[in-house]
Amino acid sequence: MPSGMEIRELKASYGANQVLKGINLDVHRGKVTALIGPSGCGKTTLLRCLNRLSELTKGANVSGHIRLEGQEILDMDPMLLRRQVGMVFQKPNPFPMSVRENVLYGIKAAKLAVDQAEVVKASLGKAAIWDELKDRLEDNAFRLSVGQQQRVCIARTLATSPSVILMDEPAAALDPSSASKVEASINSFRGDYTVVIVTHNMQQALRVSDYTVFLFLGEVVEFGETAQVFNDPQRPETREYIAGRFG
């Protein structure tokens, strides 16, 4: 079941460096929200705050409110949070185990009682890689191509049935064919999962997302439905960025 998130006055800093300066945002349930903006504007930091991976970095300081269906994230057990909020990274990071063990990792870690074979099939299917790998489930995931590895990582994240999926430029390191398969999967998640995707590629944001957030220098400059943000941007910075005047 998808969940919505509310972000209020989120501030994040690493040491002396203030990266997020007060983010106010609503992530709508069951929709795909894209975070766009130039490099260094805090997109990845914002994403990592949503599943509290930001805390792993030394000197990280996060304050504010992030609510997942009313529950305050910053008070939750991070482990339980991350079972509901999954993440796919820019560089595919499969574990050096078989494909099956990769997909089942989250389930075994949480000790969930499920039909493992079913879960593997369903997750790999939703990640659009079941047909390619159905005979190769025992192969070591390191031996797959980069595109296949990324889809296995997506399947792995789906296996625990999270309510929110965070994606940090999932198709950036992939060849066009794999990238389009990943985008097709994201489109299929609509309704079943809430997706927040960071992307540098504005065309990808247009293809894939329902809502778009434009971040600049650690603040939300514009937020709205994708069509409206791209065709009729309200703020001059948004207009400049979309026109490609800076990146």
């Binding site: 949070l81 999954g86 993440m87 990274f89 990071n93 990792y105 870690a109 625990t160």
Partner: protein, 468 residues
Amino acid sequence: MRPLLNSAVPTRPAAPARPKPARLAWTKLLNAAAPAVSLATALAALAGACLSLAQNTAPALAIVELVVLSVAQQVLFLYIYLRFAKWDFKVALLALLSFAGLVVLYVMPEYLTGWQFNAVVHRSFFAAVWLMAMAIPAMMCAIYYLAGATPRAEDYAHYPLVLVPVGLALAVYVVLIGQLVLQGLPNLTWQAISKPYFSYGWPIKVFVGGDWPMWSSELRTSIGLLYYLQGTGLLMLLTAVISLPIGVGAGLYLSEYATGILGSLTRFAVTALRAISLLILGLTAFSLTDLSSGTPLASLLHGRYFDGFVWQTSSGGSFLAASIVLSFLVIPLIALATEEGCRSLPPELREGSLALGASDETTLWRIVLPWSLPNVVTALLLGCAEAAGSVAVLMFIAGRGDYGVGPFSQVTSLAYAIFIIWFGDQQFKGSMGPFLFTAGVLLMIITMGMGIAAMLTKRWLVRRHRGG
């Protein structure tokens, strides 16, 4: 200046008639002659140097070789001038030094002592050193010119500088192992490894005149290396069992949790253990055994044996005591290897595991430890090999292994057996003397076997747990 000798490559633009192939071949041969001869004399000089070291040969051989070498260098010098139109003074210097060497050799008496020397300078040794010192540069120059004096030829010319020392080192290695095997192999029989050594009196009942039983004792003896083999194996096993959990734990602590003063202290303690002299560890083992006499710990730390009537406690140490002290040596190996393995884990794997909602503990067991397994197993096997070969740690508490091998029997091993075959009492020497080198061969097989096993296991584990 124009070269005066014909070069194999024409120096002018293509002449109307090309030289016939037969003539080209001859020219190439002539061009190769001088450096080839120089190379041959240099190789001969190298052989002569080795021979001089091995035997006390008359100086005639060395002097002849130096003459030939000097002449070859002079010919080479002229050849270089004729073909490449330059003076190569290195070659000239070599010719001069060879000549100087042979003059010194001719004049030098068999031994030199006195004056400021406080040692004997042996003529053969001088010949060997001088020939070696001449041979290597001569080879380098010869190869350079044989290969055409191009920049690439310079690369080839450096090969002798590397290959000669490596070759000599390998030769020494082969000789050492060879003499061990040659002396030990003849006595390596099935009898030798399937039977133990013991020599003790065993009580037996004898019936003397009617039904009166009396206790007498019969001498039971056997000659062989079995208990030493078993002892070596048990020592390796016990040391592994004790060091593995402590070593892995220390390594994990150092890489995952250690911060500040406690971390630095732990790291220092772990590293410093390896710096302790092995004899000090031997004394530690002795203290462990000695201080526990008369306490309940004695049944664990002293060697115990059954003499036919009761269980006796010897004054020597048990396998357990020896393994405890040997662990001091092996734990740092395993700890540092574990730490290195954990640090080499790509951070994205750790992040990926945490992002899926796994606890730190799950991440440790399923991601971090399997990743560092190759390092851990290699260190363990090498540590065991070290335990197998150690004598200094055992020598104050070990025994002949008369009564068999077990965790609470007196400690003994192949290495210790070698030690006491040499230094032990006459009776032992008499019966076990022939097995001195045989025990050495067995020990070498065990330690080299562990080394090879370590290498192969690491490769297999990397393929399995790191997808390599």
